[in-house]
């Protein structure tokens, strides 16, 4: 393939006048070279140096020639790493190391791979610090903490304490404050971006990457939440075009991390059109480090059957294949394709980003929308109070297909999420994981609320957690687990401090999509009471199936 003449500027993967600390570069916790591919139709170096540069410098759409490289719309892996988002938010998180416990919640829940963790043995940490420029050494050293989890436990176990560092990548952070919200230790706070703060953040991020990878001696295989300390789990880089605080972004990152922890970059994704395909392939930016393809809204599982057959022909039976789609693609438009794939018994895994609405096209009702939800196709008015149908339950439908692994989870329930994903990967056959994902603009919640609302959805039976594993026995009762739901033997969760029932009405009260169902005195509408009853009936059905009733 003919390669266009490259401009005589520093590589996009190196420091430049515009990016003096090289924050926009490949690799998440350490630097990496471009991920090359052996394809005659895609020259990664040309793409990244010419096309990405064009878009990053603002002339891409107008001045790049409409040649074959552009016309094919192929995007190399991980090009979103080169994208600069440092200008879009007025605030950025600041790390307070003395308060940090090393819980990794902030790193896990960030939708943009913009807050990163690292652990090093104290001896190697000191050596590496000594090699840093003297002017920056004390500033950076002060950002490391001695936590019980890594330092004291490490010292007890091996004689060497683990030094822990959290860093914010200022080029990828969108300022949603999800990390600050999930931190229970006051170890993060939002601060206004000033030149001084941004220079320190950029410099610190650069030094963080220069320190090399985490020392795996300090990463416990039993603590699933620690997996993002490893570079190989960062399959979903920062730089995707999702909204600030997007619940889907976090879910996709965690899906990729869990799969990457077992299979590295040796797996692939077939995506159904929706928000997820828009923000992960807004030309020319791609956050995935694994092969990814998108055909249509309705046929992703069918498309995956073809990919799986070809991979198996090539002897690639070991490679996992995920299908990713929203509730519109899986509950509605692609439902037949999904059912057909289940019936095939093929080793294909499906991950549903369930926002209960067609988020990408402006918020139309799907069959996953809750009763009463105010959407563009079920507008709340005088005659009709929002959606009048009941929500479809994809998990129950999937369970009734022969031998399918099924889970319902959320990214806020980290252990449940990871167990569900790892269980699906271990299962030799079709699997589906429906994941509750907050959509800030369509649900009517603030940018920092993805985790809070997902937890509330579970607590109020709006979206119960479940894992249905056909390997667990020969009855539904043996296969279905409702572990992780609060008060799993009762109807509603009883708040331990107030002794009050927490119901679907409480969930609805906290989101803008249901606000029209409350009168001036705060009383819920008849439709919303019907929605509450619907959620209770759904929960009781699950309890019955799990042998709890």
């Amino acid at each position: 393939m003919a390669v266009a003449t490259l401009p005589a500027a520093p590589s996009m993967n190196a420091a430049s006048d515009k990016d003096p600390f090289n924050n926009n570069c490949y690799g998440t916790t350490i630097d990496r070279p471009y991920k090359l591919v052996n394809l005659p139709v895609l020259d990664v170096n040309d793409f990244n140096e010419r096309i990405i540069r064009g878009y990053e410098e603002g002339y891409g759409e107008k001045e790049l020639p409409a040649d074959l490289s552009l016309a094919r719309s192929l995007i190399p892996a991980g090009t979103a790493s080169l994208r600069d988002f440092s200008y879009i938010a007025p605030e950025i998180p600041k790390y307070i190391p003395e308060n940090c416990t090393g819980c990794m919640d902030c790193v896990t829940e960030c939708p943009d791979t913009a807050i990163l963790g690292k652990v090093l043995g104290e001896d190697e940490w000191e050596q590496k610090l000594a090699a840093l420029p003297e002017a920056d050494r004390e500033m950076y050293k002060a950002q490391w903490s001695r936590t019980k989890k890594y330092y004291e436990a490490g010292k007890k176990k091996t004689g060497v304490g683990g030094m822990f560092n959290i860093i914010i990548d200022p080029s990828k952070c969108k300022g949603c404050a999800e990390c600050v919200t999930v931190c229970d230790d006051n170890a993060l706070k939002m601060v206004a971006k000033t030149d001084e703060i941004m220079t320190t953040a950029r410099k610190s991020h650069r030094l963080f990457k220069n320190m090399g990878p985490s020392n795996e001696k300090f990463i416990s295989g039993n603590l699933l939440i620690d997996m993002m300390l490893k570079e190989q789990t960062h399959i979903y880089t920062g730089g995707a075009g999702s909204c600030a605080g997007c619940g889907e972004g976090t879910a996709l990152r965690m899906l990729c991390a869990a799969t990457g922890s077992k299979y590295g970059e040796d797996w692939g994704i077939v995506a159904a059109t929706g928000c997820n395909t828009v923000y992960t392939s807004t030309y020319p930016y791609n956050p995935y480090m694994v092969p990814w393809t998108n055909s249509l809204f309705e046929n992703a599982p069918t498309y995956a059957i073809g990919v799986r057959m070809r991979w198996d022909q090539m002897g690639w039976q070991h490679k996992p294949l995920w299908v990713v789609g929203g509730d519109g693609a899986m509950y509605d438009i692609g439902f037949q394709a999904l059912s057909r794939m289940f019936a095939s018994g093929m080793n294909i895994k499906v991950f549903v980003l369930d926002t209960q609405v067609y988020s990408n096209t402006g918020g139309q009702a799907s069959t996953a929308s809750f009763t009463g939800q105010n959407t563009k196709m079920s507008v709340h008015g005088k005659a009709i109070a929002g959606k009048q149908e009941r929500r479809k339950e994809i998990a129950q439908i999937a369970m009734m297909h022969p031998r399918v692994y099924v889970a319902q989870t959320t990214a806020a329930h980290v252990n449940h999420f990871y167990k569900a994903v790892l269980g699906a990967l271990e299962f030799d056959g079709p699997a589906i994981i429906a994941c509750y994902t907050t959509c800030q603009p369509e649900h009517g919640v603030a940018d920092n609320m993805a985790g809070e609302q997902a937890r509330l959805a579970v607590d109020t039976r709006a979206f119960p957690l479940l894992i249905y594993d056909p390997r667990k026995g020969d009855t539904i009762k043996k296969r279905l687990s409702l572990d992780g739901n609060p008060n799993k033997n009762g109807d509603w969760y009883i708040h331990p401090k107030t002794n009050q029932e927490i119901t679907f009405i409480d969930f609805a009260r906290s989101e803008g999509r249901f606000v029209k169902h409350f009168d001036k005195d705060g009383n819920p509408s008849e439709t919303l009471l019907a929605a509450k009853q619907d959620r209770l009936e759904n929960w009781r059905l699950l309890q019955e199936l799990a042998g709890l009733r």
């Binding site: 706070k189 920092n448 809070e452 107030t498 002794n499």
Partner: protein
Amino acid sequence: MSALRATHAFAADVPATLEFLKRTRWELRELRKVWVWKDRLQIFDINGDFFEIRGVGYPDAAVVPILRAINAAFDPATLHAPTAAEYKEFLTGRRYTWAHDRVM
């Protein structure tokens, strides 16, 4: 560190309290939650910094317009009831949905 940013003594004058909130609101970042005690309110932002309004609590009718002013998600039917807990917590993260004011 979390910090108390401002205090206001409620003097049975709801408009004055709402004026206090309007005047000082910029001192907090995005609001996260409110704790309503028997005799006071604490309004928290995402950093944990807070305002305290003293002299009004969940038993009082006057607390309703104050909670509405900060977009708290509370149930007026149970708001004034006694609680076994020290305080009642309400989230303040509810927002308008995208294009809420028009039908597509």
